[in-house]
Each structure stands twice: as C-alpha cells, then as structure tokens.
C-alpha cells in the first residue's frame, strides 16, 4: 500500500507540471495583460511596471524562474498552519511548509500570492468541509432510508428531493434559502462570514446538490447489497435490521458513493465560486474568479495549481478509502 501511495504521488508531479505549464502559457499568449486596464498608462510607467515584475524578459526565462520559485524546497507539513501573513491567526503557509513561492501579485501591490492564499483559503476550506459533511450526512441517511423502505412514500420522497437537488442550480437554491430563512424567518444573516450561524446557509446550499447525488448512489448501492447472500445469512442469524444495515450492508453499499467523492470534491471547489459570491464570503473561490477577470497572472496560476494539488491529493485519499472498503480491488 505504501508503494501504491508513493507511486501515485510520483505520478502527480508530471500532472501538476502540465497544469503549471498550460496555465502559464495560456495566460501569457493571449493579447492583453494585467496592466492594460481601462485607464491608459503612459509608456514609461508601463515599461517600469513590466520591468519590476520581470515581464520584459523572454517568455522562456520567465517560465523557468517561475518554476524555480515554485519548486518545493523543504518538507515540513507541520508548519503548514503557521502564521503566513503575520496577522496573528493560523494560516495556510506554503512558504514555511514546503518553500513554495508563488510570486508577487500583479494587482495587489506589495502582496505575495502566498499571503493572499493564506488569507483566503481557510474560509473556503471551512465552507467546503461543512458542505461535504452536509452532503454525506443528508445523502447517506436519505439513501439508506429509501433503500430500506423501497417503493414506499419514504422512497419516493427521498427520490423527489434528490431530483430537486440535481435540477435546481445553486444560484437559485441559495437566494431561495436566503429569502425563506434569512429574510422571512430571520433565523440567519443573509450574507457574511462572522459568527458560527453564518456557515449554515452557504454550507446547506452547496451541500444539497451533492447530497442529492449521494442519496441516489447510496440507494442504488444499498439495494444491490441488500440482495446478497450474506445479508440473508445475517438476517437468518437473527440480527436486528439496524445492525444489518450498519454492520453488514453499509460498507458495500457505500462503494458507489466513495467513487463519487472525487468528482464531488472538484464540484464543491468550483461551486464555492458561486456560493462565495452569493453569501459574500471572503474565500479563495471569489478571489480566483476576480483574479481571472483582472488578469493577475501569478494569482491565477497559483490558485489553479493549489486547486489542482487539492483535487489530485484528495483523489488519492479517495482511492485508498475505496480499496480499504473493498479489498477485492487491491492496490495496483
């Protein structure tokens, strides 16, 4: 298993390299740049700016020096949560942990991409984790209930709810939830990210879509498993229905859900772009979209690389869980 993980980790290096390279050249080969804003800048200022950020050098040189800054230089993951922007809170410090330097931002003067990511990522991570929790808890519960009470009202209600979750986009669901719970019932704030209760609506909006998919997958997986011989054996031994589900069926029934976790994580990341805009959350998703509009080259490449790293890393975790749940798969 250790060999499998190491092999997969080695495989991620070329993948991430391809992503960095593709992003780097895609951004720079398109006409326009970070300093071609609405207000015209005089030629001298433009040249000074480009010289300051090294944009006047040949493209190949820029690429190589970017890669050199980017390359991990140490391995100290325990320092990942050091204070990156020195504001007294725990951050996501890539410089201290791995020596990764993502360069200066082109649009925020005197700020590095590392600092911006450190400041914005925690909110996004928190949102993502809560959303994933909502998706798993709600989805699995609904799916199991639907499978146990197949073709009854419970089943149809769960399926209908799942369909609604799949067909209503988050940017319709979000405003509707705000209208009901924030503006009419006044249980939560309509937007913001200050107190614990502010997490509820965004996490629910983002998690609901994936809860819907997970409920459908759980139902299918459970129905397949509940027909197996070993479930009949467990029943014959007189095990209670609860014990059959929790001890015997769930492990096999959740396999399709685990396979879906990879795409779900990627989806939650991109979903956060919308959710952070709707609920005014100071997260990395909103920052990424803004940076793309602003053509802030280094910030765009840095966030893309970070997202890619997260997705690749979490997919590896998902693969390990999958084999743990189903030993027949074996590590390649």
């Amino acid at each position: 298993m250790l060999r499998f993980i190491l092999k997969r980790l080695l495989e991620t290096i070329p993948v991430l390299l391809v992503i960095v390279t593709a992003t780097f050249f895609m951004l720079r080969l398109v006409p326009g740049g970070p300093f071609t804003a609405e207000k015209a800048v005089s030629k001298e200022i433009m040249q000074n700016l480009e010289a300051h950020y090294g944009l006047d050098k040949p493209l190949g040189r820029q690429y190589l020096s970017y890669l050199a800054d980017l390359a991990p230089k140490r391995f100290a993951p325990w320092r990942l949560f050091a204070d990156a922007d020195r504001n007294g809170t725990l951050d996501f410090d890539l410089q201290a942990a791995f020596g990764i330097n993502l360069g200066p931002s082109f649009k925020y003067p005197n700020r590095t991409v590392n600092e911006i990511i450190a400041g914005k990522l925690p909110a996004s991570l928190e949102l993502g984790l809560w959303a994933l929790l909502v998706a798993l808890a709600l989805g699995i519960t609904l799916g199991v209930l639907a499978a146990m009470r197949k073709n009854t009202g419970v089943d149809y209600a769960a399926s209908t709810l799942a369909m609604v979750g799949i067909c209503v986009p988050t940017f319709v669901m979000g405003p509707l939830l705000v209208l009901l719970f924030a503006l009419h019932l006044r249980w939560f704030n309509a937007s913001g990210w200050y107190i614990a209760a502010d997490r509820v609506l965004p996490a629910a909006t983002l998690g609901l879509v994936y809860a819907a998919y997970i409920a459908r997958l759980t139902r299918g997986g459970m129905l397949e498993v509940l027909n197996q011989d070993y479930i009949r054996t467990a029943r014959a031994k007189g095990a209670s229905e609860l014990r059959i589900v929790l001890r015997h069926a769930l492990r096999g029934g959740l396999l399709p859900v685990v396979t879906f976790l990879g795409p779900a994580i990627a989806g939650i990341i991109s979903g956060s772009f919308v959710i952070e805009t709707i609920f005014q959350i100071p997260g990395l998703g909103r920052e990424f979209v803004n940076s793309a509009f602003n053509r802030d080259y280094t910030l765009v490449s840095g966030t893309v690389l970070l997202y890619a790293g997260l997705i690749v890393g979490l997919n590896l975790v998902v693969d390990v869980i999958q084999v743990w749940l189903n030993p027949r798969l074996k590590f390649e």
Binding site: V15, I19, L27, M163, V172, G174, S270, V274
Partner: protein, 321 residues
C-alpha cells in the same frame, strides 16, 4: 431523439421469422415508462415552442418599454416585464433557444470527440489504448471548471474577432454574440467528452470479444464493416443514454458560467443569465426568477427522467456515474 433506438440496425440477417429487434423491444419498454414519455413530449414541445414561436411574438428580446417598467405577469405580458419593460415571455423563449442550443451542440461536440477517442482506443487496443486511457486519467484529475472559466475569460478578444468574422456571412448577420456562443460550444465540449470516451472504450472492449464479431471476422469482413455494422450499433445504447444525461450537465455548466458573468452578452440572454438577473432582483420582482428558473429546472428534470427511462429501456448499466 426518442426514435433513435427504434432505428438501430440490429436484426441479424439470418433470422428466419421476424422477431422483435432489440431496438424495437427497447422502444416498447420506453413507451411503458410514463415519466419518460411525458418528459420526452415536454421536451419536444419546449424545443418546438422555443424555435418556432419567437418570431411571431411581435416583440424581440431587446425591445424596451421604459415607461412600462417592471410589471407582474398579465394578459399582455404572460411572464411579466423586467425593469426595462422588456417582455419576459419573449426573453425566456429566446433564452431557451440559446440554452437548448448550447446544451445540444456542446453535447454533440463532446459526443463526437468521446466516441471517436474511445472507439479507437478500444478497437486498436494494446499500447495505444494504454496511452490514450492514461491521458484520460490524467485529464480527469484536472480542475476542469476552472479551465472553462479561464478559457472564457482569456479568449474574450479572439471570440469577439470570431464574432465579427462569422457575421460577415449573410445568414449569420443578425446573430449578435454568435462568436461567444461558438466559444461556449468549444469550451464546454472540450471538457465533457472524458466520461463518454471511457464508456465507449469499455463497451467496445466487451463487444469486440463477442462470438458474432469473431464470426464476422471469420467470414472475412473488413475492419470498417465490422466497426460500422457490428460494433457501433451495439454500443449505441450507452452512448444515447449518456448523451441524454450530458445535455443537462452542459446546460448547468452554461448557467454556472452565466452566473459568473461569462455567458452570452446582453441584450442577448440565456436561461442562465435570466436566472442570475432574476436572483439579484428576487425580493422586488420575484417573477423574474420564477419563470426562467422554473422552466430551467423542469427542463433539466425532464432530460434526467428521459435519460433514466432510456437507460432502463436499453438496459444499460454502466452508463451513469
């Protein structure tokens, strides 16, 4: 689209009496699924309305009536008007044209890439197969929505050039924003083909080993004849099912891009941009959200139900997820 399974050529030439072909069986099974039938009829009606009706409305999507302003639904304006006094019914129908077009065409782009790629990998096999599928594995790990966003942001200028170029042709002259729409086809199609390639490859691998393929080979048929007469018809089921399920995914992606301000440009509208505008003004003018949002959700629902129905009718197991 519904008629497709019925026309699948799959009757073995040696059959003595006239048995039900698998395609005909599937069609009969589909007809028994009431939800799928209703969904199919709804989709046909919707497509017909969006394509045929708008020119007869007497009101375009951009016609403003500022003195009227935002009014709630009435006999004159079935879906109400927005604060520029534009008739919402016309805007929803014109928006439907664009959303449905993006959904279908981008899915077709994904379908063509995916089927070709998967069929080649599966049929040729060996080292080429391993290489092609490794590429798909790697692409799977990429944060794709992010790349679609980057493509849409950074290709803005080239898309405007494309727009100017395309509109020199007479029949495209009035299609404002066609360049952006073509960009959407390309960007979405380029990222949605991966699963299709995997499905087709898997199917081709299974079908390739079947006895009737061996029989065809023994009879000395050419590769082309084997692929087109014997393999493709037998992998058609999963392809049809998955295409039906790709369309709602593509429409969702289009609306997502519209929400981020990367969809079609005003005054043109798609359901995505209408929903975004509606969500912003939901408290004051709820009908601006309810009609496009409701229609969008219903369409996605119908496409999903039809896809599920087709999957059951064609007895496809691996087509989804």
């Amino acid at each position: 689209m519904i008629a497709a399974p019925a026309t699948a050529p799959s009757v073995p030439p040696a059959a003595a009496e006239r048995p039900h072909s698998p395609g005909r069986d599937a069609w009969l099974r589909l007809r028994r699924n009431r939800l799928a039938v209703v969904s199919g009829i709804f989709l046909l009606a919707l497509a017909f309305t969006c394509i045929v009706v708008p020119p007869f409305l007497g009101q375009g999507y951009a016609d403003q009536n500022l003195s009227l302003g935002a009014t709630s639904p009435s006999a004159a304006h079935w879906f109400g008007t927005d604060e520029l006094g534009r008739d919402q019914f016309a805007r929803v129908l014109y928006g439907g044209r664009i959303s449905l077009m993006v959904g279908f065409v981008a899915s077709l782009v994904a379908l063509s890439i995916g089927v070709t790629y998967g069929a080649v990998a599966g049929y040729v096999g060996g080292k080429l197969d391993a290489l092609l599928m490794r590429v798909v594995d790697i692409l799977y790990a990429l944060p794709f929505t992010i790349f679609v966003i980057l493509i849409m942001v950074f290709l803005k200028e080239p898309m405007n050039d494309l727009d100017a170029w395309l509109r020199r042709f007479d029949f495209l002259k009035n299609l404002q924003g066609i360049g952006k729409i073509v960009g959407l086809f390309a960007a979405i199609g380029a990222v949605e083909w991966l699963t299709m390639a995997r499905i087709v490859r898997g199917q081709v691998l299974t079908v390739k080993k079947m006895e009737y393929i061996e029989a065809a080979r023994t009879l000395g048929y050419s590769h082309a004849r084997i692929i087109f007469r014997h393999i493709i018809p037998n992998v058609l089921g999963p392809v049809i099912v998955f295409t039906t399920l790709t369309i709602p995914a593509v429409m969702m992606l289009e609306s997502f891009l519209s929400f981020l301000g990367l969809g079609v440009d005003a005054p043109l509208s798609s359901w995505g941009t209408l929903i975004k505008d509606g969500a912003d003004k939901m408290e004051d003018f709820p009908w601006l959200l309810i009609f496009p949002g409701g229609l969008f959700a219903t369409t996605l629902l119908a496409l999903n139900l039809l896809g599920d129905g087709l999957r059951d009718a064609l007895d496809v197991r691996a087509a989804k997820d």
